[in-house]
């Protein structure tokens, strides 16, 4: 028993070192731009770079659009599958897992082939069309995370009875979705949304091959040409992800009606 506990601590210590050592190294390196002393120069350079602001704001807008589209697709689908089509669940789950199996490069080449300027739907022929294509690509990449988050949220409530209770009180489908289902899976939706945000902010392949000014390709560009700034950017990207995780916790904590479930 005692030995088991020792090994558990050893495993935990190894895990912490494995995860945090590279991170500490990156943070430390990002602070060494000024010779002989620690400074935030690398961060100052990165944050004052107009390309950083452009690409970052572009990716933030794309992430928000992706979240909206993802929620509109996933929440009604997961709800309907749980409510009326439980037999289709294995198929839907398989489909939502496909983006984890199919590499983004395959998806983007498929897009380019399907929607090029000589195709029936020439989306790549305009910036708006390509942005739309990129957003749908992001939605696909985020699908496994969004679907699982929402599905887990739906599993925690008795959606069938809640739906029937709302119906018996005169509510139609829109009211049921907006006032009963959505608020009760809000934390799950936000979890999915923050994960989607983190994925979109760091995504490289789709944006680079569709030639859009996103944050991922900018990270790669800076990484190829500069020494300290890429480390600063990596720390910034990590921070965004962690802030997202923190927000999930915060929302869960302050969402009063979910307190009973915790």
């Amino acid at each position: 028993m005692r030995m088991q506990r020792v090994w558990a601590w050893v495993a935990l210590a190894f895990g912490l070192v494995y995860f945090f050592l590279p991170l500490i190294g990156t943070v430390e390196f990002s602070l060494r731009m000024r010779r002989g002393e620690y400074s935030l120069d690398a961060y100052r350079v990165v944050l004052s770079d107009p390309r950083f602001q452009q690409t970052f704001s572009y990716s933030v807008v794309m992430a928000l659009c992706t979240i909206v589209v993802g929620v509109l697709i996933v929440v009604p689908t997961a709800y309907w599958v749980r409510l009326r089509l439980p037999r289709l669940r294995p198929i839907v789950e398989f489909v939502t897992l496909l983006p984890l199996v199919i590499p983004p490069i395959v998806i983007v080449f498929g897009y380019i082939r399907m929607y090029n300027t000589s195709s029936f739907l020439p989306l790549t022929g305009s910036a708006t069309g390509t942005n739309f294509l990129l957003m749908m690509g992001y939605t696909t990449l985020a699908l496994p995370y969004m679907y699982r988050a929402v599905d887990t949220g739906l599993r925690a409530i008795d959606i069938r009875t809640l739906t029937e209770a709302a119906q018996s009180l005169g509510a139609g489908w829109f009211t049921i979705m907006a006032r009963v289902i959505m608020p009760n899976v809000l934390v799950a939706i936000l979890s999915g949304a923050f994960l989607t945000f983190a994925i979109v902010i760091g995504e490289f392949v789709l944006a680079a091959l569709l030639n859009r000014p996103a944050f991922g390709p900018y990270l790669q560009l800076v990484g190829a040409n500069r020494a300290y700034e890429p480390a600063a950017l990596a720390v910034i990207a990590f921070s965004i992800t962690w802030i997202c995780m923190g927000l999930i916790q915060l929302v869960t904590r302050f969402s009063r009606h979910t307190q009973a479930r915790r």
Partner: protein, 349 residues
């Protein structure tokens, strides 16, 4: 035709017919219970009235209007669920006011109605709380207030007390009945608890295998069950296979003793039922007839003593009150038990 009229209602799930030719007419303000074992079709019938299941055949009419084609949200039928089904994201007041808000009732009117409903269920102070901050009994009261707030034409309750402990169940069923009487709302109550059904209902529909075996007042159901199933399911019962001594005169024999039933019977044997409280060790009236018996079991249950006695080939249970001056007979004793032949119920199959 009653206020709520169900005729020839049927429901099949694949090859399984769950409800078979169900007919019922409910008067306005009546409290009807669907009583039966699990899988008898009572909840399915209720769900068809609510609109959550589509009947395979038959009609459901409220005030002469067929509602089968209407969606659940168009029927104006309130429903209370076993699992309360309160919206966890809304406060008690918002839960009660949900249907009113959907109906477009003004904020002021809504607040007034919510306060009235919460007052009726005795939770006037709980409007700002969330469902998770209430006990099971309180949550079910909120669910009742919510269902009643929209002034439904019919109220349906699907085993609303089964998730509660025994003491709360008794007090809440009395409360539900009092509220139903006060509001005069037509109510259908689904339960598998016979005590609940007997104590609350104007009439009981005893269901078995998708069929209404008997529809009658609780007193009738208990004292005059028309089928073997109803007799068996409601209360404790002695089932006796008696020899017919004189069919046209209605005389049967139990353990060799002739007993006049007061009605003609057919066949060589007849199925009879007798409540344990109708048999005693001493004659209760001048009409009682003695039967020679052997005491085979004695169960001391506190205020009541349940005795089993063999009469010929039949075995009868009888309940007697515990009195300190009259100890129960010992097992194996030859005794006489008494019954009034008029208490014997002739069962149809």
């Amino acid at each position: 035709m009653g206020y709520l009229h169900i005729s020839n209602l049927q429901k099949s799930f694949g090859p399984t017919q769950v409800v078979k030719d169900f007919n019922l007419s409910v008067e306005k303000g009546e409290f009807i219970s669907f009583l039966g074992p699990s899988g008898c079709g009572k909840t399915t019938t209720l769900r068809m009235v609510a609109g959550f299941e589509t009947p395979s055949a038959g009609t459901i009419q409220i005030e002469g209007r067929d509602i089968v084609r209407l969606r659940p949200n168009q029927r104006n039928i309130g429903m209370v669920f076993q699992s309360y089904a309160l919206f966890p994201n809304l406060t008690v007041a918002d839960n009660v006011g949900f249907g009113l808000r959907v109906a477009g009732v003004s904020r002021a009117e809504r607040a007034e109605r919510v306060a009235e409903m919460l007052g009726i269920v005795g939770l006037g102070e709980y409007g700002a709380r969330y469902p998770f901050q209430l006990s099971g009994g309180q949550q079910q009261r909120v669910a009742l207030a919510r269902a009643l707030a929209v002034r439904p034409q019919v109220l349906l309750l699907d085993e609303p007390l089964s998730a509660l402990d025994a003491k709360i169940r008794v007090s809440l069923r009395e409360e539900i009945r009092a509220i139903q009487r006060k509001l005069g709302i037509t109510t259908i109550y689904v339960t598998h608890d016979q005590e609940e059904a007997l104590s609350m209902s104007d009439r009981i529909v005893v269901m078995n295998n998708g069929v209404a075996e008997q529809v009658a007042a609780p007193y009738e159901i208990y004292n005059r069950p028309t089928t073997r199933f109803v007799a068996n399911f409601v209360g404790t019962l002695n089932l006796i296979e008696a020899q017919v001594a004189d069919g046209p005169a209605g005389v049967v024999e139990i353990g060799g003793t002739p007993l006049p039933l007061g009605r003609p019977v057919q066949g060589a044997t007849v199925a009879l039922a007798l409540r344990p409280e109708s048999v005693s060790l001493v004659p209760a009236s001048g009409r009682d007839v003695p039967l020679p018996a052997e005491i085979s079991e004695v169960h001391f249950l506190g205020s009541v003593i349940r005795i089993r006695a063999r009469v010929g080939t039949a075995s009868l249970s009888l309940d007697t009150f515990n009195t300190p001056d009259a100890p129960p007979p010992p097992v194996g004793e030859q005794a006489r038990i008494w019954l009034n032949p008029r208490d014997l119920m002739v069962l149809e199959e």
